[in-house]
Every structure is written in C-alpha cells, then in structure tokens.
C-alpha cells in the first residue's frame, strides 16, 4: 500500500464524495494502478459486508414507550384546552349543551339535529363520552373485530353510514362499534384497541369542507385528534401516545 491515492481519493471515490473532475482523475489512475484496483475491491467488499450484516439495530418498543411518556411529562397541558377549530364557539356550544342535555335522552332519541356548521360538541363532552365508554359494559354495543359485522350493525340506527375499517395488521384491531350522543347528536363510535388501551373514534356527518388532522388536544390525561374528511367529522380520543393516535388517524384518513 504505497500508492498515495489509496490513502485519500480512493475513499472519497468509494463514498461518492469526489467532485466530477477528481472522480475522473481517479478512474484514469485506476486503469493503470493494480494496487488501487485491488484496494478498491477490498473496500467494496467490506462495505457490502457491513451493509448486509444486519448490524443496524432498531430502538426497542419499550424504549419508544418510555420516551413518549417522558415527552408527555415535558409537554405543557393548557388548562381546559379546547379543540382549536371550535375554540370560539365552544362557550356558546356549552351553553346550548346544558339545555340540550336536559332535553335529549340517552342514545337513540333521534332528532338531535342542529345547524351542522356549528361546532357539534366541546372538548369536555368528548372526554366525558370517552371516560363513560370505559365503564364496564359501556364500550361497545356491537363487539366484533369484523368490519363486515360492525358496518351493517349501524344500518337503520343512524341516518348516515360511517366508514368502518379494521387495522389489525397495523396494530389497531377493531374492537366494535357503539352509538353515542355528543352535543345532542347521534354519533357512531368505532372502538379500536392499541395494546391494552382503547381508542374511541367518534364519527358524524358534516357539510364542512375537509381539513387536515389538527394538532392534538389534551385534557385530563386524554388526547384527541380531530379532522374532517369526505363529509365526515372525526374525533379520535384515547390515553395512548399522540404518535399512536396520529398513526390511527392517518390510517383512517387514507
């Protein structure tokens, strides 16, 4: 190994870091220098060994979880933060709500239709509905992991057909469906599991235009994501991490 090139240019050439003229110069040199040609072959061999070695290690799942928990602790939770889009109307809505709740009976009373452009419910209601669902026996009206069972179950119970898909392969198995009332409106709820946690996805029709998935809201240790897509309003609520929730939201959005 006495050739100067093997010390310097060869590695830049191997790594694709030489500019065009230096690269050409090295290639010309390579034609006449057996030593460099052999050294290059050895380096290429080392590279291919390293790259197909499987030495690259992914972060274990438990670590991911720990980090998310630490990030949660390092993130400020605004007091009584509301869904951003509905912020201004939330106060009005909650006044309406007090009246609404005293008027509308529990699931299935039907006629709770309000102006669809108005904010349909508040963050407090949403979290209440989520917590309520976690009480024994309240989570599902139809318990099934089969989307073809859950989807038709909603027929005749609602005046819209919520899109129902199972994402078991992506780590979010469908657990079932339920009817609920939010802001005086009948809504469909799809329940997904994430390990030992449940995610409620509230679905109701809207005439508002599509929105992207909004930044997460936080309240009482629960997080939610809200978006509108193809005439449906979605709100996913859970105590799983924001990232997990986001993953599910994106699966549904697609």
């Amino acid at each position: 190994m006495s050739c100067d090139y093997t010390h310097t240019a060869l590695h830049g050439y191997l790594d694709g870091e030489l500019d065009a003229s230096r690269s050409e110069e090295f290639e010309r040199h390579l034609e006449g220098c057996r030593e460099c040609a052999k050294a290059l072959e050895t380096e290429e061999s080392l590279r291919s060994i390293l790259q197909r070695s499987g030495l690259c290690e992914s972060a274990p799942h438990s670590l991911r979880k720990k980090i998310r928990a630490e990030l949660d602790a390092a993130t400020s939770v605004p007091i009584a933060q509301r869904i951003p889009l509905w912020r201004w109307a939330a106060v009005a809505a909650s006044i309406v709500l007090v009246a609404a709740i005293s008027w509308y009976a529990w699931p299935g009373s039907g006629s709770g239709t309000r102006n669809p452009a108005a904010p349909p419910f508040t963050a407090a209601e949403l979290i209440d509905a989520h917590i309520r669902s976690l009480q024994p026996g309240h989570l599902t009206d139809v318990a099934s992991t089969d989307q073809h069972t859950v989807k038709p179950w909603f027929n005749g119970k609602l005046d819209f057909a919520p899109p129902v898909k199972d994402f078991a392969e992506d780590g979010f198995p469908l657990v079932g469906g339920r009817l609920d009332v939010l802001g005086g409106r009948n809504v469909a709820v799809l329940i997904y599991a994430r390990r030992k946690h449940f995610i409620n996805v509230f679905v109701l029709p809207t005439k508002e235009p599509d929105t992207p998935i909004h930044p997460p809201g936080l309240r009482q240790g629960y997080q939610w994501l809200h978006w509108r897509h193809q005439g449906m309003e979605y709100c996913a609520v859970s105590d799983v991490s924001v990232a997990d929730l986001h993953e599910l939201a994106q699966l549904i959005y697609q």
Binding site: S45, L50, P60, T75, V242, A243
Partner: protein, 188 residues
C-alpha cells in the same frame, strides 16, 4: 453542540411543538438508538442514554430552526454518549486514536468476505475499534450519512472525514482478519 442554538432549556413545550417534534425528530429514533448502541456497546446502557438524549433534544427543540433533523439529533446523541462514557467508562476514551495509516499486508476481498460472513464476529470486530473509528463507520455504512453530516455529528472538520474513514476501515479489516482472541488482547 456547535452550530446549533440550544434554545431555552427549561420551559415545557406546548402541544404544537410536541407535534412538530413527533414529525421531524422522532422518526430518527432508530438511527439515534443504533448510534448509541455502537458507541456504548451494551444494550441497556444504550437504551438509557438514548432516552436521555431524546429528552435533551426535546428540551433543545426550540433551538432547532429547520435543516437536517437527523444530523441535529445524532449530534445530541453522540454528545450524550461521550459524556456518559467520560463518567462511566473513561478508559474507553483513552484508547489511542492514531493519525497515521499503517502500511499493512493488503487483505483480499475473499478472505474479508469469509471473515465478515459471521454477524457476531463482525459485530465483535467493530466493537474492538476505538469509539472515534466506530462512529464514523456506523454513520457512513449503517446510516448512510454524507461526509458533511458526519462532520456535523462528530465535530471533526469535513476535510478529515475521508481520512478518518480510511483509517477506520483499515482497522476494521485488520480486526476482521486477525484471530478474534489475539485482537481482543492486543486492544487491551
């Protein structure tokens, strides 16, 4: 952490900053863990230090004004690893980092292929290299970093990345084609 403003370190981040962090930085968690794992060698230590580094990155996140998020994160991970090594295993950082390339009998691609066929042996050979050689190899060959990124992450001048890689590769070839026991003893 040269070149990056670390921002205010103490205040909590809000949910929007959190979402941005999830989007820009968290996707590089695997790369972060992989670098820590090869710098510290022991899995448990790597997990602890990666966790610490991610939290530091989060606290410094306001100081990240766009650009290469992976290099930014890996720079923090590397610094956290070195701080940890200084405190817990200072001997490892004292291993010589010779600047010279030594003339050596050239290794044939065939003998290298045979020696490198065994993942465990390859891993052990990589672990015998001093951390500064190990990190450039991991960044270049396992993470596919450019010289510019390697320079940013390891704080060595971009002009010396190429020679650092040349030396690291030579050391790895030597470690791979020498009997493992002898190599281990020599490194001690």
């Amino acid at each position: 952490m040269s070149g990056f403003d670390q921002g205010r370190g103490s205040d909590l981040l809000d949910v929007h900053e959190r979402a941005r962090f999830e989007q820009l930085v968290l996707p590089h968690l695997d790369a972060a863990f992989n670098l820590a794992r090869w710098l510290l060698r022991r899995r448990e230590d790597s997990e602890d230090v990666t966790q610490e580094a991610m939290l530091r990155a989060y606290r410094f996140f306001r100081g990240f004004h766009g650009g290469d998020a992976r290099a930014w994160l890996l720079q923090i991970v590397r610094n956290t690893c070195y701080t940890w090594l200084e405190k817990n295993r200072p001997v490892e950082l004292m291993s010589e980092f010779d600047e010279e390339l030594h003339p050596q009998p050239s290794v044939s691609p065939e003998s290298l292929a045979i020696a490198g066929d065994n993942r465990e042996r390859l891993g052990r050979a990589l672990e015998t290299l001093p951390p500064r050689f190990r990190e450039v190899l991991v960044l270049r060959e396992l993470e596919g970093c450019s010289y510019k990124e390697i320079a940013t992450i390891t704080a060595i001048p971009i002009g010396t990345v190429m020679s650092a890689l040349a030396r690291a590769r030579q050391r790895l070839q030597r470690a791979l084609t020498q009997p493992p026991v002898e190599e281990a003893r020599r490194e001690l």
